[in-house]
């Protein structure tokens, strides 16, 4: 009897839980690997072709940034920081950080990282906000997307690096995708949340005056959800920066590459410098985007009274 049962009862103990058997397990893994490899071989080319323009754009963007004379770059960055935060202090701190980065000869790597983070954030916004809007309109969509986002945020990044590399190889495009998988959930979640939190009375007023769905979305829902959406953008930027080192493992380049080299060779100073450069960029991005988000809010909430 024991031989034709799935579980071999005679070998069952209370110490080890029942397993499916070494042979079966290997077959399952092999067939998954095999079929994915097959899929890659059959579809890899056109999937890669889709991401080609993305890769070219990223490379071009990076080259433009590196080719820009450093004083011009600093003026642009300081201008953006001031536009976002309306704070001279922050703009000056930004310039100082970049000068320090240049002084320590990390300029090119920094440009690569900033380009990577900027492009991935833009893509996350471009895909994340519409997805969040869609989720906010349908409970069913929300109930499907939320668990997927949960998985995307909790699954160890190394795990999805494997299929991405199998499919697209090593390079900037797969790195970009890996960063996006990690960084897109907050913007989707907070767009959804922001729109769902819009005051029902205000929406009812829009309906009562005959607003169409588009007028409701662009005139009421998005503007009122903007503080939340902006918190999402901020989180997305931070998470994209957190992925810089991991993305470097599959060819993202930038500040992550020297960090990896430092880990392998126990170069303490190299690791510290590049790590601190990432921190500096993160703090600048965070403060500027938060100040910008707050400014949007202040404008709307008025002053005293009710």
């Amino acid at each position: 009897m024991a031989s034709d049962s799935i579980i071999d009862w005679s070998k069952l103990t209370w110490i080890d839980p029942p397993t499916m058997g070494r042979q079966d397990l290997r077959d399952v893994k092999k067939s998954i690997d095999g079929s994915f490899r097959e899929f890659t071989r059959a579809n890899g080319e056109w999937i890669e072709a889709i991401f080609d323009p993305l890769q070219s754009f990223l490379v071009w963007f990076e080259k433009v940034m590196i080719a820009t004379p450093w004083p011009l770059f600093l003026i642009i960055v300081a201008g953006l920081a001031y536009y976002g935060s309306r704070s001279w202090k922050l703009a000056l701190a930004t310039v100082a950080s970049f000068l320090f980065i240049g002084w320590l000869d990390m300029w090119e790597d920094t440009m690569a990282t900033v380009a990577m983070v900027s492009v991935s954030t833009m893509l996350c916004i471009a895909f994340g906000i519409p997805l969040g809007v869609w989720m906010s309109r349908s409970d069913r969509v929300q109930s499907i997307v939320v668990p997927i986002l949960d998985v995307m945020q909790t699954i160890p990044s190394f795990v999805y690096l494997i299929p991405v590399v199998m499919l697209l190889g090593i390079g900037k495009a797969p790195a970009l995708i890996a960063v996006m998988i990690y960084a897109i959930p907050p913007i989707v979640r907070l767009t959804n949340l922001g729109i769902r939190l819009v005051d029902k009375d205000t929406l009812e007023a829009a309906d009562a005056f005959g607003a169409s769905k588009r007028e409701r979305l662009w005139g009421v829902q998005i503007p009122l959800a903007l503080p939340n959406i902006f918190a999402g953008v901020n989180q997305t930027i931070m998470m994209a920066l957190a992925m810089v080192v991991i993305a470097a493992m599959i060819g993202a380049g930038g500040l992550g590459t020297p960090v990896l080299r430092a880990v392998n060779n126990q170069y303490l100073a190299l690791g510290m410098f590049n790590g601190l450069a990432i921190v500096a960029i993160a703090i600048i991005f965070d403060r500027v985007s938060q100040a910008y988000g707050k400014r949007l809010q202040k404008h709307r909430e008025g002053g005293h009274g009710v």
Binding site: D199, D201, T202, E204, A205, A206, D207, A208, F209, G210, A211, S212, E215, G219, V220, P223, L224, H299, R300, E301, G302, G303, H304, G305, V306
Partner: protein, 349 residues
């Protein structure tokens, strides 16, 4: 009376999972608590019928939970009914397509809300423009219209403020201007003044009455405050548990309450301020001595006239012709509470 502007016909609203199946139970006489116990559905509106004449103020009043806010939201279909008809100018709003309904809301009926429901991210002037912009009116004209109505409600100089910077009363003026700016013939006001303190409320009632004297819109006004209802209403309908228990003009309701519920309602009102001399006079053709008082003068004012001119009797006129006479004694009796008697009756029972 000419054709009513708005006709509510056999309107039912039941909240729950299978509302349509519940209408039969209600038609068979099941009550609101019974329906909730037996089937887990909540009765919102129970067979409402009401003809609302054009160019007047129709008040719908009831306590909280009576279904009045649900009812007004059926007129522009912010809430879908379970059964019934809502006929405005001969057309059933409840049968309209999405596009027709949108036009109905844009051009025919505008709304003022209890909690103002202004757009917090827009300035005052942008809020007033909201409905006009949605109508697709060209920008310069929309700006002119918004400016005009903003000034009419007395908010000149606040154009660039945000709603959060204004007091409740001022915010509701914005709400009123927003609704008036669309030029809709029908104005739906859902407890529009209930969130305001008493002084501001009286103030806003005056603003509304002044505007109405000139605009003659069909106003449907929801309130839980009987004094407010009597003050501004040309007609009053009283809702209780989703059922309309009485509908008529203020005099009617005060003089002939339909049941104990309405009687309770009108117990604490100032009768002198509601009842008109025409309801308490003795009909007569010949004028007596004393001042002439139009028949629709409220008793409070008529008493003052008599006291001022030191007379006991006054002549009641209608369109300048004598229709009767009234004594101070009659007036005082009219404003005495009839409940004193019924309270005694209750003691004997």
């Amino acid at each position: 009376m000419s054709e009513p502007k708005v006709q509510i016909k056999n309107l039912y609203k039941i909240f729950g999972r299978r509302p349509a199946d519940m209408v039969q139970h209600i038609e068979n006489g099941m009550s609101k608590p019974e329906l909730l116990d037996a089937h887990g559905h909540v009765l919102g509106l129970n067979n409402n019928n009401l003809d609302i004449p054009a160019r007047g103020i129709q008040v719908i009043m009831g306590l909280s939970g009576s279904g009045k806010s649900t009812l007004i939201r059926h007129i522009n279909r912010l809430i879908e009914p379970t059964a019934g008809q809502m006929i405005v100018d001969g057309e059933d709003v409840l049968q309209m397509s999405e596009a027709t309904l949108r036009d109905f809301r844009r051009f025919k009926a505008s709304m003022v809300f209890q909690k103002f429901a202004l757009m917090p991210h827009h300035t005052v002037i942008e809020n007033v423009r909201y409905g006009v912009d949605i109508q697709g009116v060209a920008a310069p004209e929309a700006a002119d219209r918004a400016q005009y109505w903003l000034e009419r409600v007395g908010l000149k100089g606040f154009e660039q403020h945000y709603p959060a910077q204004l007091s409740g009363g001022m915010q509701q003026r914005v709400g009123l201007a927003r609704a008036l700016a669309t030029d809709a013939e029908i104005l739906l006001m859902d407890e529009a003044f209930s969130a305001l303190d008493p002084l501001i409320r009286t103030d806003m009632q005056n603003v509304l009455l002044d505007l109405q004297e000139e605009l003659h819109k069909t106003i449907i006004f929801i309130t839980h405050d009987l004094d407010e209802a009597l003050r501004i209403g040309d007609n009053i309908a009283i809702l209780r548990d989703g059922k309309m228990v009485q509908s008529g003009n203020p005099q009617d309701i005060v003089l002939h309450p339909a049941d104990d519920y309405v009687t309770d309602f009108i117990q604490d009102i100032n009768r002198a301020r509601v009842l008109q001399v025409g309801t308490a006079m003795t009909p007569a053709k010949k004028p007596c001595d004393g001042p002439k008082i139009p028949h629709d003068t409220i008793i409070e004012q008529a008493l003052q006239t008599c006291v001022d001119s030191h007379v006991e009797t006054a002549t009641v006129t209608k369109d300048g012709k004598t229709v009767g006479s009234i004594t101070m004694d009659q007036m005082v009796r009219a404003i005495a509470r009839p409940e004193a008697v019924s309270a005694d009756d209750a003691n004997y029972r």
